[in-house]
Assembly symmetry: C2
Homo-oligomer: 527 residues x 2
Amino acid sequence: MTRSWWGWGTDEHAVAGAELEALTSRISTLLPDHDLTDHAPPDPAALGLPPARISPPSTLAGLASDASADRAAHAHGKAFRDVVRNVHGSLDHVPDLVVRPRNERDVVDVLDWCSREGTAVIPYGGGSSVVGGIEPRFAGPAVSLDLGRLDALIEVDPVSRAARIQGGVLGPRLEAQLRPHGLTLRHFPQSFEFSTLGGWLATRAGGHFATLYTHIDDLVESLRVVTPVGVSESRRLPGSGAGPSPDRLFLGSEGTLGVITEAWLRVQSRPRWRAQAAVRFDSYPAAVNATREIAQAGLHPANCRLLDAAEAFINAGVGVAGGLLVLAFESADHPVGTLLTRALGIAREHRGSTPDGVVESGPESAAERTGAADDWRASFLRMPYQRDALARRAMIVETFETACTWDRFEALHAAVIGAAHDAIARIAGGGIVTCRFTHVYPDGPAPYFGIYAGGRWGSTVAQWDEIKAAVSDALAGAGGTITHHHAVGRDHRPWYDRQRPEPFAAALRGAKGALDPAGILNPGVLL
Amino acid sequence: MTRSWWGWGTDEHAVAGAELEALTSRISTLLPDHDLTDHAPPDPAALGLPPARISPPSTLAGLASDASADRAAHAHGKAFRDVVRNVHGSLDHVPDLVVRPRNERDVVDVLDWCSREGTAVIPYGGGSSVVGGIEPRFAGPAVSLDLGRLDALIEVDPVSRAARIQGGVLGPRLEAQLRPHGLTLRHFPQSFEFSTLGGWLATRAGGHFATLYTHIDDLVESLRVVTPVGVSESRRLPGSGAGPSPDRLFLGSEGTLGVITEAWLRVQSRPRWRAQAAVRFDSYPAAVNATREIAQAGLHPANCRLLDAAEAFINAGVGVAGGLLVLAFESADHPVGTLLTRALGIAREHRGSTPDGVVESGPESAAERTGAADDWRASFLRMPYQRDALARRAMIVETFETACTWDRFEALHAAVIGAAHDAIARIAGGGIVTCRFTHVYPDGPAPYFGIYAGGRWGSTVAQWDEIKAAVSDALAGAGGTITHHHAVGRDHRPWYDRQRPEPFAAALRGAKGALDPAGILNPGVLL
C-alpha cells in the first residue's frame, strides 16, 4: 500500500469504479449544474520545492529526509483545504526536513539540536490534522518530527487492564497488538486508520464512545513526554488529587509543550453483549429532547448519535422528517437489553418509533453482529476518501464541530445552520448542511456539521475559508466551543483566543516558557 | 450553634454523655493501660497571640478582623495534628487578619492590596484541610481570606441540569438551595457539613460516588477564578477539546493560582431507586479480587467500599474474617436491582456471601430507605467528632489515603500496613490499623487507612508525624499517590515533590509566575 501524499489514506483505497460512479451520480442529482471535472494531484517530486535550509548534525543524518515527496507529504494535514491545496500544488510552507526517530533518545537529541539552533519542531503522528496543526505556517526553517517508528506495545498489565504504548502507533496496529491479550482501547476516531495514539493525546481526540469516555483523556493513566528541558513521566495512577493533574496539561497541548513518546492507557475487555436500535422522529426538537433525556438518565449508551434529516438521508440512506437516533449499548460483562429498552421507552415518550426493531446479541451471536458493525464502520471510514474524490471535482465538502449546553443548543443550531446556509448561498449558490451529534453529555451535545456545496475550481479553498469564518463566528457567538475534538491547530486560533480565558492564556505562556524556553515546539499553535 | 475554634464542627455537637461513655469504654477494652484523662482546649482569646503586623486599607477595614478568636480559628485546619496543637494552645503561625469579602469585587480588592504590599493571602473555605493547607507556616504576615459570605446559588439551568454556585457555600446550604429545584450535587465528602464548594474544587475533593464521578473535578462545567492578574472564567461547556483544559489547571491548585469565586456544576435529579447489599468475605485477597472485577464490569455502583476486617469491626460493628464489601446502586431514572444482582454474582464467584440479604427500594418505598441511609451518613459524620474526643485523651487517631493500580495493590497494602504497624509499635507500643476503599476505578482502588494508638500526652503530634512519615514513605515507594482526595497542602509536600514530574513542576512554576507575579497566594503550598 502507498500512503497518499496529497489526500486521505492509501492510493489503493482511493474512490474508483462503481463507488466513484455512484458518488458522482448522486452529486449530479443534487447539483445538476456542477462541473464534475476531475483534477489530478501533481507528482510531489516535481513540485519544485525550495531546498532545505537546514541540515542535521551527523548523529541525526541517518534519520532525516529532505526528499521532496517526504517534505510535501508532511506539509499539510488532511482538512479539505489541505487536500485541495495539495491538488493545486500550492505548498507555501513545507518542512525543511522530515526526521524519524527510532527511540526516545533520538527524540531528545532532535529537541536538543533544534533548541540550540532555534529551529522549529513540529511533532507529526499520522498527519491527519484537520486544523492546520502540522503545517509550518511561519517564516523560519522547520523539522517535521515523524514519530511513526515509535509504534510498539511495550507492556500489558492485565490485572489493572492497562497497557503501556508508544505514541507513534497508528490505530490498527495498536489494536492488533492488544488483541492477543483479549484487550482493546476502543478508541475509534474517524481518522483511526491514519492517526496515532500520540496525536490523539496531543489533540484530545474524540473516540468511539458517545457517552462517558468520550475523549481519549479519560483513558489515560499516565504520560511520558519529552520536553526541551527534560522528560516528564507521571506516575501510573487510577486517580489522584495531588495538585493539578500533570497529564491534563499535556493533553491538548498539540505539540507545543513536548512530544508524547509513551502512555499507559486504560484498556478494556472486548465487548460480548450488544443491543442496538435506530429511532425515527418526525420532529427534530422532539428528537433532541429524547436524546437529552437519554443522556441524562445514567444509561451510558456506547452510541447515541442523533442525525438530522439531511444527515440521515445523505450518510445513512434513511428518509425521515425529524431525525434518526442511532442507539447502541455494549458490555464485556453482562447483557444490555434492559438498558436499551429503557432508552427506547424515553424515546417513545417523545414519539420516536423503531420500525426496524431492536437487534440484541450475546456471546453466541457475536460473529453476526460484528459483521454488521464492521459494515457501518467501513462506510464511516470511506467518508474521507469520498471527500477527496469530490474535492478533486470542485466540490466544497467539509465538516466542523462543537459542543454546547442543552439550554443553548436550539439557538446554536439555528444560528449555525442559518449562517452556513447564508454563507454557502452567497459564496456557492447554495448547498446542503447536515448535523449529527457525535457525543452527548448530561449537560449538552457535541454537534458535528457537514457542508456540501458546488465550488469553482481554483477558488474552493477561499470559498471554504469564508464559509468557515461565518459558521465559526456563529457557533462561538452562540456559546459553543470552537472544537470538541478536532483541536485548535492554526485554523481555529482566532476563535480559540476569544474563547480562552486570558489569565489561562498567561498561565499557558508561563508553562510554555518553562518547558520550551527556545520556543521551538510547533510555533503558532495555541500560543 | 457555635463553630468550634479548635476542633471539628460545632461545640454543641461535641461527643458527650452516653456517646462519650461508649467511646471511652471501647478504648479501655482495646487499650486497658491507656490514660484517658481529658485535656480541654484553652480560651482562644487568652492565647496571647502576637498583635497583627498589618492593617487593612480603609476600604477593606469593615471586612477585616484581628480578634484573637478569629485568628486562632483560622490558623489550623482540622487534621489530628491541628486539633491537638489547638488543645495545647500551640499556635506558632496565625494569620494577622481574617478578611471576609462580601462579593467578588472585595476579593479583587484584597488581592490587589496584598499584591502591592507583598502580603500572603490564604484562601479559606470551611477550614477543614487535613494537610496543613490553610496554615500560614512562613515568616511574613498573612491574610486568611474567608469566603463564607459568597454562599449563594446564583442560577439554575434545569434543561442542562447545571447550577451556578458561589465558592464559599458550605455543603448543607448548597444542597438546601438546590433542593427546591429537585436537584442535588450529590458530592458528600466526610467534611460535607463544614467544607465549601470552592474548597472542594481547589483540593479536588472526593465525594459520594465510589465509581465514575469520584472527584468533584468531574462535576465541573466551568470555573470563575480571581487571580492577581485578572478574572479567569471558562466557557460553560459539556466537553471541549480546545487546548489543555483551563479548569483542570485550577482544580487542585489549592489556592496558589487564584480564588475560585463561582462555578457552574453538573447537578443531578434526586435518586429514586436504590439497591444495596453488604457482602462478607472470609479471605481479603478474594474480597479484593471481587471488588476489582465489579469495578471493571461497567456496572458503576454508587457505593463500592471494601472494608478490611479491622475497619468492618471498628466502624461497622461487623465481625468478618476477610472483608465487608458495601455495595449500592442508585438512579433517578430506572430500577437498579439487576445491576446489584450482577455485582453480587461476581462477588459470589469469589465466595462472598450476603447473610443480611438485599435491600431494594423505589419511589414508593423511598421514605423508609432515606431513613436508613441517613442513619449511616449520620454515623459517618460523627467520626471527626469522636476523633476529637479521643485526641483530647492522648489517643493517636488519624487517617491517610492513596490510590494505586490493581497490580500494585497487594504489595502496597502489605508495605503500608507493615510500615504502620512497625511505626506504631515502635512509637506507641502498638495499636490498630484499618483499611477501606473509598473509591474504586477499573484500573485501581483508592485505599483509605485509619490508625488508632495510645499516645503520650504532650507528644502525640510528634508521634503521629513519625508514623505519618513512615507510612508515606511506604505508600510512595509502593507506587501510590501521596493523596487521592485529601490534597497536598504543606504536610504532603516532601512526597508530592518526589511524585510530581520535574518538568511539570517547572510548568506549574511558570504558570504561577504569570498569574501571581508577587507570589502572595498560599506560599509554601505545591510550589
